[in-house]
Symmetry: C3
Subunit: 400 residues, 3 copies
C-alpha cells in the first residue's frame, strides 16, 4: 500500500460519521451504523497500511489492555495481543483460575478492580446461551458506574471477542477479506454468500459465527443464503434480523435445506459446523446443574444425530455448483478437514488446500479490526489522529 | 487534580526525607520512617494526578517487573501490572508450575536467574506463618549478593505484595483512602479506627491485613481499637508494636472483645475475617507434612468454631454505634457479604451496598501505591524527576 | 564497560560478515559461519555494554515476540522476555493448553496465526528425539510460505530455545562466558574443555547441551574431551561433526570413558547428566504410544542403570586433576548438587559452592545472546544501527 492509497483511505474514513463510537463498546455489529462499520473497515486498512509503511500507530505510552477468555483461543488471543501492542497497551489476561473471582466476587466488582489503568477489555464468553453477551453488558455497565462514580479515571471499552450471539471481530475481518478480495464494498452488492452448516465429528460449537455472518452480511445488499439440516436452527431473533436487514439493504435472504441449494451460483461460501440451538439450550441447563451424566448423554445423542448429516461436506462437487465454480471459500479456522484433522469433516482436503492461503489472509485482518475497534473508541478525532501520525511518520521499526 | 494541586504535592514531597529509599525493598511499613511513608503517599497522589492530566510517568524505556504469586490474586495482580506498565516495565510472572523451581533450584539461584534485566520483584506469599516475609528476605539477600558479585547490573527492589506478617501495598492504599476521605493526614489524628474480626464461612484467611492495619494506623495519633473473639489472636509482636507506636504517636491502642465496643464512636471500621494464629500455626505444620486428613480435620474443627461467632457481622445496628452513625466502612475486598456471596458473612448487604463505591476507591489507590514504591526505590532524586516529567508534560495518551 | 571498549567491540563487529543473518533463523550453531557466531558474541557484549551505560537498544516501537515452551523453563523464559523487552517487543506465550492447537490445527496454520504482528518466535521443544528441531523447521517453513504468499507482512525469525539436537542460546552464552573469563576468544585456542556425563537421580534429561557444547566448542581450536559411561551415547552425527570440526579448527576431539581422563589438565569442565540416546529413542516411542506402563518400566530400568554410575560426580578430588586444579566449572543450571538438591548428584556441594557465582554469570549472558540473535536477524545493517543508537544515547532509565 503506497502513501496515495493510504491518503485515499483517510479521506474515505473522514467521510464517515464515527463520532458516536468514542467511549462506546463494540458488542454486536447490528448496533452500529453503516458509517461506523465502514469506519472500522477503513481504519483497519489504514493501520495495516501504516505497518506496511513502517509508521507507528502507537497512541498510548502506557496502560492496560485486559483480556478475559472463558473459552480456548489461539488466533483471537494473539490478535488481541497484537492490537494492544500496536497501540501501546500492555496485555493483562484475567485468568479466572488464578484469581479470586470465584471467591465471592461480583462481576461489577471485578470489572472495576481490573480497570484502574485499563483502556479496553476484550471478552470471549461463548459457552452458555443467553450468558456471554449478557456478561459483557454487565461488565460494561459496571465500568460505566465506576467511571461515573469517580472510581475509574476513564471508561474502558468492552470489545466482544465472541459471545453466544455474535462474533464481531471475526465477521468484520471476514467482511474486510471479501472487500479486498472483490475490490471494494460496492462490489459485494448483489453477490451471493452461502452460510451453511457443515458436518464435524465434534459437538457444542458456538452459534456466534453463523449468526454474526448473516447479521453483518445482510447489510450490504448481498444475497444471503443460510442452510442447515433439520433442527440445527439458530437463535430466531438473529435470523429475523438478517431477513429484515437484507430487505432494507436491497439484498435477499433465503433459508435453504441443503448445501447444494445454498451453494448454487454463490460468490462466497462459508460452510461451518455448529450445534443446534435446542441442544445448546439443553447443554446450558446441564452445565449450570453440573449434570455430568446428562452432558455425556447429550453429547452422545448429539454426535449420533450429527452423523446423519455427514454428507454436509464442502467438496469439489459442491464447489462446482458455485458461480463459475470459483466461489471464495471462507472459514474462521480451525476447520475440520476430511482426512487431515478427522475422518469426515466440514471441508474436503482438496477444497481447503486450494483456499488455505485465502483463509489465512482472512484471519490476518483480525488484529487490525480489533485495533480499529479500540482506536475508534479511544480517540476523539480518529481521522485527524491517523493523518497526524502518518504525517509524522514515526517508524515502528527503527532500522528496517 | 489541577496543576496547582500537583505542584503543592510536589513541594510537600520534596520536604520529606526519602533519600534512604533508593535501592531499598519495601517489606514492612514499620521499617520505614514517617517521612518515607509520607513520601509514598504523596508520590502515589502525584502519579495519579499526572494520569488525570495525561502526563506520562514512564521512567523506563525497557526492563522487567517480575511478579511471584504464591496465592491467588486479582486486584494485586492487576495493580502490579498497571504500576509496571505506567513506569515502562514489562511484567513477567514467575509461575512456579511452569518453571524448574521445584527441580532442585534454590531460592538464591532463582532470584538471580529472573533478575538479569529486572528492576523490581513483587511477591505474594501469605500461606505459611513464618515463611512469607522470610522468603522475601531470602530473595532480597540473594539479589544483594548477585549485585555485589557482578551477576546483576542493578539491585532490583523487592516489594511485599502480601506476606504472613504485613500487607503494605494494601494498608498504604487504605491509609491514602482515609487521607483523601478525611481531607489530609493531619485530620486522622485523634480519629478512631476499629479493626475487627468478622465472621466468614471460610477459614485460613491470612493475618496480614489486620496486622498491617494496626501496624500502620498506630503511627498517626489515631485511636486504634482491635477486636476479635477469644482465640483469634494475631502474631503477638505485631500487637505489641502497634501498642507502642500508638503511645509514641500520641494515639491510643485498645484491645476489645466485641465489635460493639470497637465500633463505639469509631470514625473508620475495618471488619474482616482471619484465622486464629494458633490454627494458622497448626495448618502450617500440617501443610508442610502434607497431612491431608489432618488438614481436613482442622478445617472442620475451625469452621465449627467460627460458627460460634456468626453474629460478628458488620450491620446497620452496629454502624449506628459509630461516630454520628457515619463511620467509613473499609475492606480490602473481596468481602463476604451476607445474602450475596454467602448466607452469613463479614458484612450485611445494606452496609456493604452503602459503601461499595468507597471500597472500590480504596482499592483504586493500590496501583499508584505500588508504582510509588517502585519509583522511590529506583529513582535517586524522585522529587526532581517528578517535577521534570510534569514540566515536560509528555502525554500518556497521544490523542485524548 | 566504558565507551572506548564499546567502540572497540563495534569495530570488531563491523569486521564480521553477518549480512546473511538478516531474516534468517537461528536453529543450530553449526549452520552458522565463524563470522556469524563472532557477530552474535560481539553484539551480545555491545548490548550489555549499552545497558551498563544506560543506553536504550530498543529497535521496535511495537510488535510481538512469541514464545512456545513445550517443556518447563525458568531462565530461558525470563531471558527471552528480557531480550524481547530490551528490543521493544511484547512477549506473547503460546500456551498450548489454552489454545485450539489440539483442535485440528496444523503446525503451518498455527505458525501463521500467531505471526501477523510478530518479529520472532522462540521455541523450546526438547522432549522427543527427532522432533524438536524438525518442528522448528516446520514452523520456519510455514512462516516462509506465509510471507511469500502475502499472509505475513514480514518473515519472523525462529530462535531455537532448546531442541532435541542443540541448545544454541545456552552454548553461545557458555562460550561468551569462557571468552570473558579467559580474556578473549583467541585465548581459548588450545584450551581443554571436558564435557562429561554426571550422575543424577533423575532420568530423561535432554541431550541438547552436551551435543551443543561439543558442536560449538570444537570450532575454536580447543581440545574437546567428551566422556560418558557405556551406553550413554549421543546422536552419532553430532559426535562425528564435532570430531571433524576439531580437526578443521586445529583442535582435538577425544572420547574418554571416565571423568578422570577427561578432567586431566582441563581448563574448563562441564559435567552434566543426560539420558542415553537409546533410552531417549525408546522413550520417544513409548510417549507416542502413550504407553504409561512401558514408560514407568523404562524409567525404573534407567534409574537403576544410572545408579551404577553414581560415582560420576564432579568433586574436589576430580577438580584437583584439572589444570593447576583451577579449571572453570560450568553448568547450564539447575545443577543436581549432592547434599543440596539430592543425596547424590552431578556435583559436590564444595565444588558447586566455589563456582556458584560463576555459573550465575554464565547464565547472565543468555538474555543478551537471545537479543543479539533477534537483533542480527531483524536489522539489515546492525553495525550502523548499534553505532547510531550509541551516538544518540537515548537513556534506558530516565532518571538513574
Amino acid at each position: 500500500m503506497d502513501s496515495n492509497q493510504i491518503n485515499t483511505l483517510i479521506k474515505q474514513f473522514q467521510a464517515q460519521n464515527t463520532a458516536n463510537m468514542f467511549h462506546k463498546d463494540f458488542l454486536l455489529t447490528w448496533e452500529k451504523t453503516g458509517d461506523e462499520l465502514m469506519g472500522i473497515l477503513l481504519c483497519a486498512q489504514i493501520l495495516r497500511g501504516m505497518r506496511e509503511n513502517n509508521i507507528s500507530p502507537k497512541i498510548f505510552d502506557s496502560g492496560l489492555g485486559v483480556s478475559i477468555f472463558r473459552d480456548k483461543s489461539t488466533r483471537t488471543r494473539f490478535s488481541f495481543a497484537g492490537a494492544a501492542s500496536m497501540l501501546g497497551l500492555a496485555v493483562q489476561e484475567l485468568d479466572e483460575t488464578k484469581t479470586q473471582v470465584a471467591h465471592g466476587e461480583t462481576v461489577r466488582e471485578t470489572a472495576n478492580m481490573i480497570s484502574f489503568l485499563t483502556e479496553t477489555i476484550g471478552i470471549r464468553d461463548d459457552m452458555y446461551l443467553g450468558e456471554g453477551n449478557t456478561y459483557m453488558r454487565e461488565v460494561a455497565s459496571a465500568l460505566e458506574e465506576g467511571f461515573q462514580e469517580g472510581v475509574l479515571p476513564t471508561r474502558p471499552t468492552v470489545v466482544n471477542l465472541q459471545c453466544d450471539i455474535d462474533h464481531p471481530t471475526q465477521t468484520m475481518a471476514d467482511l474486510l477479506h471479501m472487500v479486498t478480495y472483490f475490490g471494494g464494498l460496492k462490489n459485494l452488492k448483489g453477490k451471493k454468500i452461502a452460510m451453511t452448516w457443515a458436518y464435524s465429528p465434534s459437538y457444542g460449537k458456538p452459534l456466534s459465527v453463523p449468526q454474526g455472518v448473516i447479521g453483518l452480511m445482510s447489510r450490504f445488499g448481498m444475497e444471503v443464503s443460510l442452510a442447515y439440516p433439520e433442527g440445527y436452527t439458530l437463535i430466531s431473533d438473529t435470523v429475523d434480523r438478517a431477513r429484515k436487514q437484507s430487505q432494507e439493504s436491497g439484498g435477499t435472504f433465503t433459508l435453504c435445506s441443503s448445501m447444494e441449494e445454498a451453494f448454487k451460483d454463490a460468490d462466497m461460501v462459508y460452510p461451518k459446523s455448529w450445534a443446534p440451538y435446542g441442544v445448546m439450550e439443553e447443554r446450558t441447563e446441564l452445565l449450570k446443574k453440573k449434570d455430568l451424566a446428562g452432558l455425556e448423554e447429550l453429547e452422545k445423542k448429539c454426535l449420533e444425530n450429527n452423523r446423519k448429516y455427514v454428507d454436509w461436506e464442502c467438496n469439489e462437487k459442491l464447489m462446482a455448483e458455485t458461480k463459475r465454480g470459483k466461489a471464495l471459500y471462507m472459514h474462521c479456522l480451525p476447520a475440520d478437514i476430511t482426512g487431515v484433522s478427522c475422518d469426515n469433516g466440514e471441508v474436503s482436503k482438496e477444497v481447503f488446500g486450494k483456499y488455505r492461503i485465502q483463509t489465512y489472509k482472512q484471519a490476518g485482518w483480525k488484529p487490525y479490526i480489533i485495533a480499529a475497534m479500540i482506536f475508534l473508541s479511544r480517540v476523539q478525532n480518529p481521522g485527524e489522529a491517523l493523518s497526524s501520525m502518518i504525517k509524522k511518520g514515526k517508524p515502528r521499526s527503527l532500522f528496517t
